[in-house]
Symmetry: C2
Subunit: 363 residues, 2 copies
Amino acid sequence: MTETFHIVPAEQHDALVAAAYQHRGYTEAEAADAARFCSFASRHGVRTHNALKALHLDELFGSGSGGCVPGAEVRVVENRFAASEVWDCGKKLGQSVAFAAIERCIALADEYGIGQVSVDNAFHYLWGGGYVLDAAQRGYIAYTNCTAGLAEVVPFKGKHPTLGTNPHSWGFPTAGACGFPIVIDWATSVVAMGRVQQLKREGKPLPPDAAVDADGNPTTDAGKAKWLVPFGAHKGYGMALINELVGAFIGGSLPTLRSREIPEGEKRTPSFYFQVIHPDAISGGAFACGRSRDGNVKAVIDDIRGHGNEGIFLPGQDFAQAAERSAQCGGLLFTPAEIAEFNELAAEVGAEPWDLAALPVAG
Amino acid sequence: MTETFHIVPAEQHDALVAAAYQHRGYTEAEAADAARFCSFASRHGVRTHNALKALHLDELFGSGSGGCVPGAEVRVVENRFAASEVWDCGKKLGQSVAFAAIERCIALADEYGIGQVSVDNAFHYLWGGGYVLDAAQRGYIAYTNCTAGLAEVVPFKGKHPTLGTNPHSWGFPTAGACGFPIVIDWATSVVAMGRVQQLKREGKPLPPDAAVDADGNPTTDAGKAKWLVPFGAHKGYGMALINELVGAFIGGSLPTLRSREIPEGEKRTPSFYFQVIHPDAISGGAFACGRSRDGNVKAVIDDIRGHGNEGIFLPGQDFAQAAERSAQCGGLLFTPAEIAEFNELAAEVGAEPWDLAALPVAG
């Protein structure tokens, strides 16, 4: 069964989302960043991080409960390193912080070839892949990781969740080589907790080695699954550990505290890490057979996808296909259920509801 | 059955290894780097990349066949980026190039907070984990990846090997926090080809999703396994892709060419990428409960290993334990079979053989 999607003009979407953020006390600039990011996510088919999810998250953990502070100012922590900045963002809206951090990294990469921005006292930036995709669309290699808001992943061979789902995102400026930026972007758990709950509702089993029960024993029974497990045994566990270590160096506090009330003096905030590389800064220029740099990257990608591998996917291909469909439709695609939720939001902020009947169905 | 290990003084080992490299035409400095690196690997229990393996590799693919050029000079490719260098290393000995590159990255990180060195026309640096471990022991966060010398890994859902085993290595300066540097260091295939061959000899099955047969179908039959598969499905595939993309930007050629004769004008050389971060450059200094930075990293690690997870391992723990044992024994540990091989090497270069009976057995 295919879902029906209606086409919502991006301006109409952005206006409502910005109004909702301003209604919650965010500044005009923050609201614009929030709308821009959710628009970007929806355009690229990322339904798990659309505006509805962002606003829901903000309500539960953000401006609704002090986890995020509208209008907070970013303070740059002084250091002696020319290509590196550390920001105390004072729980400012994650999308605004992440956009600004990637922008700063790009400026540093333009000058130094590589630049990094680390962020302490962060809230949530929703979808790391979006920021690196944005940078990669502009011609840069970008990377980000963050610690997760909850500790729900058990270390390899452990019993208790002391890690977050700790995502990593890399973007590469490969549009000239394969038509779109390659974006490698995933959490380090095999599945998300939402997926466990969905499979439980549907009475379906989990994939093997994805979860443990309350005693820390592996289970594929979604009804018994209590905690998540890193992907790829000790290898994915190592990847999950990286975020906690980077977060600990930046200024993050104990991972387990992110899921519960915190003792006096401890912190509960996640940390962000951003890095951008100028591709000219890693290129020796000596490409075989007189190829240009993009031509060389294209030749490598074509070789990987050749020799009988024509059916494989390249990470980021799905985002590119969704963006193409959005462009063809001339707007963002939402289901009737999502549009009903947007209309609840419209009622909340006193805006005009969207007329479902007037929104064309995507072909 | 436990293997017997004899204790070889590091100086004795290094002298023979350096002599063997000089015998093959390497300069005194290169031979010293090679000996130092293999000594470091053996001290940390890394038997897969000891001197015997290094010299064997050099014979097959290095100075013995033109893949590595003794005495080659590194040429720094000019660029406009202060924190980034690109080197054309002209197939110089990988260990010398990697030591120098990490050293240069450290100098850049001291000034800019982060530094990167990319290397074109490389040979093989043996064990990426060694260079990042070395940097982490000196207080830095370090990362390296390289493309592999052979294409033997099939992309996720593909049929033909167009990727290498493409390793990643990260080192963190956590000695002050947990007693040793955490080193996350693995190839992106589930197992190495050597492991497939070993299991085939022993008539044992492979783990699931580790290999495919000649038709590209998954198999756990080591006898039918022909090519390797990335770990963790699409996630490990993404990690393997990173090395190929970075290599392609640097100047590397088609992955598949690394396993076979190359057409006129193409390159077969791997690429190296190194990056070092000064931990002060990502630290905001605002650690909860008045903790120091190392105290905070310790608190985070203790939390991850707490709550019933006391039995888990931390990546790098194995290297640290091996180094402790080497230190207690006062030398490097080799089996009688390995010592016999070292003695073949001694005969080759006209050096004194090691007297097995005189080498104490490790307790």
